[in-house]
């Protein structure tokens, strides 16, 4: 910068100070318009509706089942080598993720470990939605050779052979038969019940208040001082971008900052893998899943399965993955379905460019944000973190 330019800059800065000093006396325009406040409130944790019922799981809201599920969640005996539990990949300190690109347990799995926080609100589980309930999801890793690598007979046998587990199981579900003498259906019922207990625990893993939520609370109360203290100028600018020209809320909407739906955003393949067909395969799999909503293992006697009845299929789902929640984002790196992008900045850069998808069609459009705006967005995204201690989970 030349000396002349410096002088001009100094003059402008002085003018700015003068204007802002004058401004303090005058009545200020509200920081957010009414429409913006409505949007902010829609993203606020206070707007989270009550936990939806899961009629397919009779013990979904049962506290004993939840405690049983918590023990099962942590139990490494539910694996081929006695060394893998659900919490191997879903680590509480990392907000139920593992910090790896792809999950690693007995082997390397196909995708990035998604968080559990908020998943009780989603009609679909997994990046590709290949399961339609938390309990059906909880069963799949147990039998996956790269994850727990065990079998339903071994899982039921572990519960059968543990006096404490067996008593709890029988109090919840009735007599448990020795899996060695069980028919396939009996074995599947017991296996499904174990999944339903794990799901009862997972349903208690609720999102908790972040700085962003405190900010909206202050805004709603009209507490201007608190608003200034809670979010700094960059974070607020980032929030403004988030709900306006960065288009984030088109998919990351609602209090969980996800629409629970599937979108192709043109992320590159994982090195060595073919590009992930994602939902196109997942929707096919969920229809064939032996533990889906229509199966005999669902507890819903009405057999009401609107998600399956109205599920979309077709080629527009090629490469579409489920929108993840943005809550606790800064503790859930790396990002995207195969952990392709290491940092929040990389993700923002990707959406800013919105490149053509390798397969299917990238739904996102280039944003044209400058570096400062990208940094503001990143600053805002770190305000969505809630302390681990408040997750309400003792592991």
């Amino acid at each position: 910068m030349s000396f002349g330019l410096l002088k001009i800059a100094a003059a402008l800065a002085a003018l700015g100070l003068f204007v802002s000093a004058c401004d303090r006396g005058a009545s200020r325009a509200p920081e957010w318009t009414e429409a913006e406040v409505t949007t902010l409130k829609s993203l606020w944790l206070e707007s989270l509706p009550d936990l939806p019922d899961d009629p397919s799981n009779a013990v979904a809201n049962n506290a004993i089942a939840a405690e049983f599920g918590r023990k099962l969640f942590l139990d490494a005996r539910l694996s081929a080598n006695g060394g893998v539990s659900c919490s191997t990949c879903h680590q509480v300190a990392r907000r139920f993720t593992d910090g790896l690109r792809k999950a690693r347990a007995l082997g390397l799995s196909d995708r990035n470990t998604p968080s559990i926080v908020g998943s009780q609100y989603s009609p679909w589980q997994y990046w590709d939605g290949r399961r339609d309930s938390q309990w059906a999801q909880a069963l799949a890793p147990l039998e996956n050779a790269h994850e727990h690598g065990t079998s339903r007979a071994q899982v039921v046998d572990t519960v059968f052979g543990d006096t404490d587990y067996r008593m709890t199981y029988e109090a919840l579900f009735g007599p448990l038969q020795n899996p060695a003498g069980s028919s396939n259906v009996e074995l599947n019922i017991a296996f499904a019940n174990i999944g339903k207990s794990i799901a009862a625990f997972e349903r208690t893993i609720m999102p908790t208040t972040s700085r962003f939520d405190e900010y909206v609370a202050a805004l709603v109360r009209g507490n201007a001082d608190a608003q200034r203290e809670i979010l700094n100028a960059d974070e607020k600018a980032g929030l403004r971008l988030f709900i306006s020209k960065a288009n984030c809320t088109q998919c990351h909407n609602g209090p969980l900052l996800t629409n629970h739906e599937f979108h192709n955003t043109g992320v590159l393949n994982f090195p060595g893998d073919v590009p992930d067909k994602a939902r196109a395969g997942g929707v096919r799999e969920v229809f064939g899943s032996e533990f889906n909503c229509r199966s005999i293992y669902s507890d819903d006697s009405a057999g009401h399965c609107p998600e399956l009845d109205f599920a979309r299929t077709g080629i527009e789902l090629i490469g579409a993955t489920k929108t993840p929640s943005l809550r606790n984002l800064e503790h859930t790196a790396p990002f995207m379905h195969k952990g392709q992008l290491p940092s929040i900045a990389d993700v923002l850069d990707h959406y800013n460019k919105a490149p053509d998808a390798m397969i299917g069609h990238n739904e996102a459009e280039p944003l044209g944000l400058n570096t400062a705006e990208l940094q503001q967005l990143e600053a805002f995204l770190t305000t969505l973190t809630a302390p681990v201690s408040e997750l309400g989970v003792e592991l």
Partner: protein
Amino acid sequence: MISRRAVLYCQLISLFTVLFSGDVSAHGGVVEEDDLCVIKVNYLRAHFKVYQPGALGHEQYCEDLPMATESVFVMEYLHDSLSEMPIDFRIIRDVTGKGRFARMEDIDLIDDIDSATVFYRAPVVEPDIYLVNYQFTEEGDFIGIVSARHPDTGKVYAAVFPFEVGFTGLGYWPFFIGMLMLIQFQYLFMSGRLKRWFGKEVAVAACFVLGLLLSPVSFAENLVVTYTTSDGDPEINKMHDWIVHIENDDGLEIEDAIVDVEGGMPEHNHGLPTKPLITAELGGGDYKLEGMRFHMSGYWEIIVSITTDNGSSKVTIPLQL
């Protein structure tokens, strides 16, 4: 006067002419058509593209590849049959000596195809899209061979496409030629030269006839479609039902119609997250529509297709959420 619509149709027609005028650079089974790279497995076609994502990110290639590195071959079917056929994919070093002009006959003459093969994927039915990831370890001339077996007749269709690895190909010059042709055609049309050469009636009539062929034709009466939900405006991310009411512009309620509902966000090129269905006809022109859900705010269009004895028509309901 020639309407703007006629001009638009003419532009479209000329674009299509360019698109499908054929094998500007035809060889083997992969053809660059405008900016679309197409593999022809006999009469079956697929959009063909190759990426070198590790080295070159989102850049896509039609045949020749710049580097010997991880390469992802993508075939997006343009013909539904391919999604039901077992397809195999082979890459061989070019031992035919024919280079760019290698054909299936040349491949058939190779004594030991296995020793020339650097990559082979056994036949598999891929219902959505066909994908291969191969790590090239050396530069040179290669030939790709894709074959698909018809599930009913057992007939095998094949495409052969010679390509170089380690060579920056000719890129998109056919695309630019196409664009030049389009501009030239437009100029001839707008300047009236086309009219002078062929006569006004012929030029305009040709455009309109072709334009009509490209436009959705409906001979049904004008229908008015309205909807109600139980809780006012649709809420985002919540599955809900609609009552769809159909009447004609004289206010006559339309009953016994076959009604289909589709929709999406035209600005985002995607449809509804669900596949809603008409589950009951309630009488008085009312139809129950279940399974509606919107997963994004913004501009949506719901397209209601109505078929009655009088014909078919489509009515678009715009929605700003």
